[in-house]
């Protein structure tokens, strides 16, 4: 029965897709058979591409046949060449997919180094190589850092801020160096410890830098010269939101994990979970009204407060789970010796929980970095924009002529999150999937 229903549903869905494609996507009005002006068009290019792929498959087949024959001959066994062939085709599939996934990334990174780049350019490179001429492979005759220079134009750094920046960079280098050593040498206990300390130092100096920068230091003409200010704003907003998340959830998680005697603990937990069903931005009109009444529109405080409701449940949940995985015997012993609950919490549990706090902070930081709805609503002045809202001004404004600058800004704006994500990959992967299961 279930199978029949499944087939029926699939068939219906496939027919719907077919109907949509035939009548709405490829009808005369939507899909005009007309080559875009100035672009390279190869009739039946897909057939050549397919032939090329088939050729590769044939090569893999040939290789696996020959290799297996050779090995069989040498070792005197009879093995099938098919597993080898299958593995080869799998690799081919994955590489094609990687090419497709990285295609946009490569295009943008290339555009950011192209000083002439103007998205709406009809000029076609004439190199004789098809893919270069079509700009499918980026054509960079004279790469330069001009676009990046436009982003930092007119930025005045005070000497002590320069020192902070240097400190952060050195700490980052140190972390990277230790990471490399970890791969090369035997694991030492000092490595993890120092990596943590250096990371902390870096976070501190970046935060101090973000706090000490002021809009007056960005003197360049044009909105793009404010880009670093936007980055600083984003760091400030995300950092404060992350800190607030840790502060609010630490005590709540402790109470939920350890105060089992508290009547009403269960309804309270239910309340926390039910509230998190509502993404904060759904109440955007009310939040706008509230912030306009509190005169907090266009301020970071207002935005962080608007985020604060949505950051509590997840962190509380995670921290509660973490504490429940720790045996309470140590705390009980301390209580017997006359320690108060608060002392137990601050002296015993807080030091133990540092990795968990880093985890909550990072998830919140990255989530806030990419948040757009409330940021777009609350931050209305050029000087308070964050990266996402600021980039939006490129796509709606003078996008045509500033494609290169936009690309450079995208690359620079993505780097912090990219580093964080790959640096703490385990955290993110476990965090989001576990969170999804629990939420």
């Amino acid at each position: 029965m279930r199978k029949v229903l499944g087939f029926l549903f699939t068939g219906l869905a496939l027919y719907g897709v077919y109907w949509f494609a035939a009548n709405r996507l490829f009808d005369e009005g939507s899909y005009r058979k007309q080559v875009a002006f100035g672009s390279v068009f190869v009739p039946f290019g897909w057939a050549y591409a397919l032939l090329g792929l088939l050729g590769l498959v044939a090569l893999i087949l040939l290789y696996s046949l020959l290799y297996t024959a050779l090995v069989n001959r040498l070792q005197g066994r009879r093995r099938s060449p098919w597993p080898l062939f299958q593995e080869g085709v799998t690799h081919l599939f994955l590489w094609v997919l990687i090419l497709l996934v990285y295609y946009p990334v490569v295009q943008v990174v290339a555009a950011s180094f192209d000083p002439t780049n103007n998205l709406f350019s009809f000029r076609r490179p004439d190199t004789g190589f098809l893919l270069l001429d079509a700009k499918v492979i980026p054509y960079l005759p004279n790469p330069s850092l001009e676009n990046y220079a436009a982003l930092v134009e007119g930025v005045v750094l005070y000497p002590y801020q320069g020192a902070l920046l240097l400190l952060a960079a050195l700490a980052l280098l140190g972390v990277g160096g230790i990471g490399l050593l970890r791969r090369l040498l035997a694991q030492g206990e000092w490595m993890g410890l120092w990596q943590g300390r250096l990371l902390f130092l870096m976070a501190l100096s970046v935060f101090a830098l973000a706090l000490s920068l002021s809009p007056r230091q960005f003197t360049g003409q044009g909105t793009e010269a404010k880009f670093l200010l936007w980055v600083r704003n984003t760091f400030l907003i995300s950092g404060l939101t992350g800190l607030l998340a840790v502060l609010l959830t630490a005590t709540a998680g402790y109470a939920f994990a350890r105060f089992r005697h508290l009547p009403g603990r269960y309804p309270m937990l239910l309340f926390f979970i039910f509230v998190q069903m509502f993404p904060g931005f759904l109440a955007l009109v009310a939040i706008y009204y509230l912030l306009s009444r509190l005169d907090l529109l266009n301020t970071f405080t207002g935005l962080v407060l608007a985020y604060s409701g949505g950051i509590i449940s997840f962190g509380t949940w995670v921290y509660k789970g973490y504490l429940e995985s720790i045996s309470p015997s140590l705390e009980e012993a301390a209580m017997v010796d006359g320690a108060t609950r608060w002392q137990v919490f601050t002296r015993i549990l807080l030091p133990l929980s540092a990795p968990m706090f880093v985890f909550i902070f990072l998830l919140q930081f990255v989530g806030t970095y990419s948040e757009f709805v409330l940021a777009n609503l609350v931050l209305t002045g050029v000087e308070t924009w964050n990266v996402g809202v600021g980039l939006r001004s490129f796509t709606t404004g003078q996008f045509q002529t500033k494609w290169g600058v936009f690309a450079a800004a995208s690359v620079l704006g993505s780097l912090p999150i990219l580093f964080l994500f790959y640096g703490f990959q385990q955290y993110f992967v476990s965090g989001y999937t576990a969170g999804a299961v629990k939420e």
Binding site: Y31, S39, F259, M268
Partner: protein, 442 residues
């Protein structure tokens, strides 16, 4: 002293805490109103005043009822939840029944600002005819704000005669200007009636596309994620860690930036995607200019953004399947195909279902993708200006409330949000039902 047990104890504690919070809020509000005439303080003074009451109040209450201090660990989180989540929800419900809008926003209308020439008790004499200057007729009952440097106060008009007006209370300062307040009021079900009367132009098509979008994007992402997860789970595959790390890249980049980059890549004449298609012998596709292709573009971009998550989730779910099952199947002579359909897929269902459901809930309100990629457009005939081809409910609400096309109809936007609330609750309840998250809490 021990905590009073049972339901009574819980309710007592709750009543004490909520009473304290209410008291603090009340003092904050009243203090703000009282200060207004003398200092013209910024609105966040309310928060500061409330905090000034809350902290000593909590300490005093803790002295009186020592057992209550256990609850203080929950108090900060609880206070923030109440003020910045629960209160906005209630406020949304209220605003959905008002005509709150950019024109009627509850603030003084500076264009009606008129100089006060003379003041005597509650009677103000303006420099021009009051009815014309304040643009009201009849003026009785209208709210005005009188202000001077560092002072301001609101009052109702009782009577108007030529250039003079009588307010319902004395002002404690010498007013320099008067302006009418653009009040908004209760309009009953008017916003909902408007939504229903225009249902064919907005609600129905937007809702249909919203559901279709969320469903098909989850299915597409899950399908690609499943295939990749199955491939990469194979321990014999060389370089599998490299592949996993490399393919995760679109998840590691901030979506708010990459979506905006896609706008340029999908450009009809110059975009990198159409250039690639041209080399493949496919005519350029109007990704963002055609109402139907825009839907495809949204789905494809979200596939690029979302498949790494599904791949990772699949890998996580696959690692929970014990190896013995496969060994047993191998002993029994099952083909790989049979193993896949008989063991792997059925066992994947349980861990994957909650992930699919929460992914559905997320995409149902995936505002930033729609708003940044297509802005809800392109325009489609016979639709409201705020509800175009790829608009989903949340972007429709946003555009209604905060964009030029919507003419800042905040109340209407709140009404749409209320509909989304109802749907979100429905989805979450289904989610809870399937995942049993509530049972797990204890």
């Amino acid at each position: 002293m021990k905590h009073p047990p049972g339901l009574k104890g819980f309710l007592l504690a709750l009543a004490l805490l909520l009473g304290l919070l209410l008291l603090a809020t009340g003092v904050g509000l009243l203090g703000y109103l009282a200060l207004e005439a003398y200092l013209a303080p910024p609105g966040w003074t309310i928060l500061v005043l409330a905090l000034l009451v809350l902290v000593p109040g909590a300490v005093a209450l803790g002295r009186l009822f020592p057992w209550l201090t256990d609850w203080y660990y929950l108090l900060p989180a609880l206070a923030f939840l109440l003020v910045f989540t629960l209160y906005p929800i209630g406020l949304t419900v209220y605003l959905a029944f008002t005509d709150y809008s950019g024109r009627k926003n509850g603030f003084p209308d500076r264009s009606t600002e008129t100089r006060v020439v003379a003041q005597e008790g509650a009677r103000l004499v303006l420099e021009a005819d009051a009815k014309e200057a304040l643009r009201c007729d009849p003026c009785q009952g209208e709210q005005v704000e009188a202000y001077a440097e560092g002072h301001r106060a609101r009052a109702k008009i009782l009577e108007v005669e030529g250039p003079s007006l009588v307010l319902d209370r004395d002002l404690p300062f010498r007013a320099e200007y008067v302006a009418k307040v653009n009040t908004f009021g209760f309009v009953g079900l008017k916003n909902f009636a408007f939504i229903l009367s225009q249902a064919n132009q907005a609600l129905l098509p937007v809702f249909t596309w919203n559901v279709v979008f969320a469903l098909s994007t989850v299915l597409l992402n899950a399908l690609l994620g499943l295939v990749l997860g199955l491939i990469l789970h194979n321990k014999a595959l060389k370089l599998r860690n490299f592949y996993r790390t490399a393919l995760i890249v679109s998840w590691a980049l901030p979506g708010v930036i990459t979506v905006q980059v896609w706008v340029a890549l999908l450009n009809y004449n110059f975009g990198a995607i159409n250039r690639l298609l041209g080399v493949l012998g496919i005519y350029p596709i109007p990704w963002l200019n055609d109402p139907d292709w825009a839907k495809v573009a949204v789905l494809l971009v979200n596939l690029w953004l979302g498949f790494p998550y599904m791949m990772t989730a699949t890998l996580g779910a696959l690692s929970t399947i014990p190896d013995e099952l496969y060994e047993a199947a191998k002993v029994d002579g099952a083909t790989p195909w049979q193993t896949l359909w008989g063991i792997t897929l059925p066992l994947l269902e349980k861990p994957m279902l909650p992930i699919l459901l929460s992914s559905f809930a997320f995409n149902f309100n995936n505002f930033y993708l729609i708003y940044l990629l297509t802005g809800g457009g392109p325009a489609e005939e016979g639709r409201l200006a705020t509800a175009q081809a790829t608009d989903i409910l949340i972007s429709w609400a946003y555009k209604t409330a905060f964009s030029a096309e919507g003419q800042s109809a905040y109340g209407l936007g709140a009404a749409i949000s209320l509909i989304i609330f109802a749907l979100t609750v429905l989805i979450s309840l289904v989610n809870f039902r399937f995942t049993g998250a509530l049972r797990e809490v204890r």
